[in-house]
Symmetry: C2
Subunit: 226 residues, 2 copies
Amino acid sequence: MSKAHVSDAVIRRLPMYYRHLKELEKAGVERISSRELGERMNLTASQIRQDINCFGGFGQQGYGYRVPELRWHIGEILGLEKQYDVIIVGAGNIGRAVANYDGFRKEGFFVRAVFDVSPSLIGVDVHGIPVQAMDKLDAWLTEHNADIAVLSVPASQAQATADRLAQAGIKAIWNFAPVDLHLPEDVVSNHVHLSDSLHILTYRMNEEALFREIEEKARMNGQEQD
Amino acid sequence: MSKAHVSDAVIRRLPMYYRHLKELEKAGVERISSRELGERMNLTASQIRQDINCFGGFGQQGYGYRVPELRWHIGEILGLEKQYDVIIVGAGNIGRAVANYDGFRKEGFFVRAVFDVSPSLIGVDVHGIPVQAMDKLDAWLTEHNADIAVLSVPASQAQATADRLAQAGIKAIWNFAPVDLHLPEDVVSNHVHLSDSLHILTYRMNEEALFREIEEKARMNGQEQD
DNA sequence: TAGATTGTTAATCGATTAACAATC
DNA sequence: TAGATTGTTAATCGATTAACAATC
């Protein structure tokens, strides 16, 4: 059966399932059991069956899962059978990189407009589209459709720009600014905090030494008190 | 007291603490209680105190936390008081965007070399550094130091390139390829899976409709069986 | 049919929240 | 001192894992 609401832990794993199933399908694998998929993905068979059954029973007892069928189902769950009109708001390094990202168009995401405040960028060609002045944003949105806005403006402008996008009717924001956005209930967002990710990497680089130090300190405090 | 090992849930929140404390410090806030910080970050006061106490007691009873001190401590925990030599492996859209990312240098990350296989990119200037042929990677690493490798090659090359980096002595990989890397125990990594993040966004866009459909289907199956 | 593997319920484990004594 | 807020232990909640009946 399916649950009324799915936990974030499960949702975060869905794209991973999709990636692995796509690979398996490409490799011509017809069927897979939860045990085999678990070994491949470093998850337990139990967890995989629980995750999948949030959305319905796509398997077959005694057989396992048909790879192409399961991939298709998860693609549908992720909304990947649809196409999306995308605008890029902020044409800096990241905005341009996203606009030019290859897989993007292949997966049904179409960049329809690019906006930036910087006069030096206006008119510049990004992915075959001339950058428009940020002033034109609201007018453009009244005349064209956009399903997703890529928010790649500086942190200081992020919340104000997000408010403006929500005001103009945008229902989904892919946020690259290092800021936690506050949005109306009917606007969804997901963030890619590059610096957060980098900081987790440096944490892991230093974790061992950090705890050696903390223990050392604790030991010395202990001695002092003796 | 401090724990010998810290859960991923806590580690993921550390950069968020750092970001908010930096903002508070910039705004001139001297002290903050776990309750106030919790309100700001949408966490419970309890969770904040638990998280912080994984690393030691940085607060003061009856007073709260000194913002600059706590920010400094968390920066140290994240390894941000250090400087890092970085190489970019793969000079496509993402590799170049990362190399040019402003905050990067400001935070103590220095791009020392950029590599790519594509002949058309070799010699091209990225962030003031000429792109080198991938062939030169191993020789370069025997002569220079690099703490972190940014892995921004196509998915198909990612694991092989990561193996090569580990072989050459790299101890940390920031992975942008949509692949789950398998690495030796002493090599840490963290990934930024852009497409995964985008797919979570489209999931959220479609979640409501998805469950309406699932319920509809369940209702119809129920009728059939009656 | 026998064997395999799912879907699902129950048990366990870990993370979050609540409570409160310690103490500034 | 009284009030406030931490550090830490205990209770709760939710996610993961185990178990097993259903069934292909």
